[in-house]
Amino acid sequence: MGYVLIVGAKSDIAKALAHEYARQGFDLYLAARYSARLESEALDLRIRYGVKIAIFELDITAYEAHASFYEDLEPKPVGVIMVVGYLGNQAKAESDFSETMRIIETNYSGCISLLNIIANDLEQRKTGFIVGISSVAGDRGRKSNYLYGSAKGAFTIYLSGLRNRLSKPGVHVLTVKPGFVETRMTKGMNLPGRLTSTPAEVAHDIFAAQQKRKDVLYTKWFWRFIMLIIRHLPESIFKKMNL
């Protein structure tokens, strides 16, 4: 079935995706910073599912290393899932531009630097899939996280452009917009139970949407409607809201 490349493999959603794809019989390339921490994860996946797992050290903001990283993957992956994300500290970023840059580079420039390279390869091979994990936060700017949201929004637009470009050569691009997910990133936040999903649920949704070659996935599904309403609120009202 070939290798799937998961970038940002230490996150909770990435781990759940690794289980989901390995269970389905895919081999995995797991790439992340401090990748030594993935060793036990790899042992676990091999024992549970009998698939091949390879671990790679990768810093998404170290742009210059991206080409050689991808070059070294042999065989080339049948698909890539970009899970990298950094929520950052909105309040800090408002007065500290280095934090703002970190949010932008991790969520946007880093991801597209690598995806540009991968997209060229897949386009040439006329096969494969690209899954980008964006966020509902990218659908409309809110005061509580608009720096993260604007980077994710840019990533969403990038993915839609990529989908347009790669539709002819038959490379499938899926944009994923998770709502609230119970993960390390959201730990300590007071998330509403009914609107919150687990990483395993999100991974399951993503796998199904990727297999069905869907374009945009909101997970859980009702976020499509929540965001439809939020996007259509008049700005004159929206700007006064506490969201």
Partner: protein
């Protein structure tokens, strides 16, 4: 956040700290506060409760498995359910399993759990090859029967007092199928069921459901269930024969809310017991059943603990040495039926030989009873404690929420040595639970 264990009593406000790597724990270990490790929280009372709790649930990776020998190494947060799901299709099963698969490996070791095969397989620690414990010093110490034996024996059944169990290596057993050949037998009273246990000693698994409310000639009427792993030739149904290692999907039946307390009144329990007893066939009945129904009948009811209402419940589980078991059980059953505190589920089992440092089982009969919490309960259980102690028995720490230090020390003959070892490995008394504080450990 508010945390309680399976009995829903007590509920306390606690900070839950989880970890992906053992190094993540160096920080909380360096702080002044005491800690206790916790897995799936299936102990009933206050064993895994403290203001600061280390949850092992994220630390749940399988690290090595030998297909030839069945030896598995994994992290402490792996649940028994995960082990079954992964290894049963390959023909391996747990060497010992408690009545729920929703416990972690760390919890199984800390409680040194037993199962329906205790009379021939002993406790979980009998199959444990080695265990790694994160000590209060921050170092990870490996131990086994041959290496650091003191740490090994004070960790098996030691309720997390020596440190945080982080990794374990143990033996899985080969099985011919995931099905069980089961026989169900009715016993009209306590004498009959004890005889049945004795004559069923060659069966791999034995357990009895016991009616704790009848008196006189029918006191202790019971239903014995005995089983062994089904071989290929036992599987006559097409579905079983074509998929001899089938895994059961997790149940979706949920008890969504706490039941009101009156549901478990004395008369409703009496009625249930009577229906249940009379439903069992008068004569021995043989059947093929799947592992999930045989080992984990209650797992199919998610949140079944809510049946006992908001105030929660406790399970009173004791063991009496074989000599004198009959007399002691009679006395205790008489007290229970007279008190009318409504014990829904009574489970009786004959343990085999065992004499560990701090593990619960010893050769003799163990009885486990659920009681909803109310103001009359604890004084009543205190009176049972004295009978248990009189007959040389003891209570299971994993189920306990209220026994006194006197009963603990009196029942666990080697408790002094255990406590001394706990303080040798944990000189700053870093690892404490509400239970250990109550018991003076």
């Amino acid at each position: 956040m508010e945390i309680c264990n399976w009995g829903n009593y007590p509920r306390i406000d606690a900070t839950l700290i989880d970890f992906d790597n053992a190094e993540d724990l160096l920080l909380p270990l360096a702080e002044k506060k005491s800690l206790i490790a916790r897995g799936l929280g299936r102990c009933y009372g206050d064993s895994a409760l403290n203001e600061t709790i280390i949850s092992t649930l994220r630390f749940n990776r399988l690290l090595a498995f030998d297909d030839n020998t069945g030896v598995l190494t994994c992290e402490a947060g792996v649940s028994l359910k995960e082990i079954i799901d992964v290894f049963m299709p390959r023909g391996w099963f747990l060497p010992v399993t408690p009545g729920t698969k929703y416990v972690t490996v760390g919890g199984a070791i800390a409680s040194d759990v037993h199962g329906k095969n205790h009379h021939n397989a002993g406790t979980f620690s009998n199959h444990l090859i080695s265990v790694a414990v994160l000590l209060s010093s921050g170092s990870i110490q490996s131990c086994s029967r041959h290496e650091n034996g003191d740490l090994f024996w004070s960790t098996c059944g030691g309720m997390g007092m020596t440190g945080i169990i982080v990794q374990a290596t143990f033996q899985l057993i080969p099985i011919p199928s995931s099905y069980i050949v089961q026989e169900t037998l009715r016993a009209g009273n306590l004498g009959q069921i004890m005889e049945l246990f004795e004559t069923s000693i060659d069966w791999t698994y034995t357990v009895a459901w016991i009616d704790c409310l009848t008196t006189g000639k029918t006191q202790g009427r019971s239903i014995l269930m005995r089983g062994k792993h089904a071989k290929a030739e036992n599987l006559t149904q097409w579905k079983e024969a074509t998929e001899p290692f089938a895994i059961k999907a997790a149940s979706k039946i949920n008890i969504p809310v706490f039941m009101p307390n009156w549901i478990l009144s004395n008369s409703s329990v009496r009625l249930f017991n009577s229906l249940y007893y009379n439903k069992a066939p008068r004569h021995t009945q043989r059947s093929i059943t799947d592992y999930d129904k045989f080992f984990y009948p209650l797992d199919s009811l998610i949140n079944w603990n809510r049946i006992y209402g908001k105030r929660g419940f406790t399970q009173y589980q004791f063991v009496l040495p074989k000599e004198g078991s009959g007399k002691g059980l009679k006395k205790i059953l008489a007290r229970i039926s007279a008190a009318g505190l409504g014990s829904f589920l009574g489970v009786l089992k004959l343990f085999g030989k065992q004499n560990n440092l701090i593990s619960f089982p010893m050769e003799g009969y163990t009885l486990a009873l659920d009681f909803p919490i109310n103001e009359r309960l604890f004084p009543f259980l205190d009176t049972l404690d004295d009978i248990v102690l009189d007959y040389g028995g003891r209570l299971y720490l994993t189920k306990d929420v209220r026994m006194s230090e006197r009963i603990f020390r009196g029942g666990y003959k080697k408790s002094e040595k255990f406590i001394a070892l706990k303080h040798r490995y944990d000189p700053q008394n870093k690892f404490q639970s509400m239970q250990s504080q109550r018991l003076g450990i």
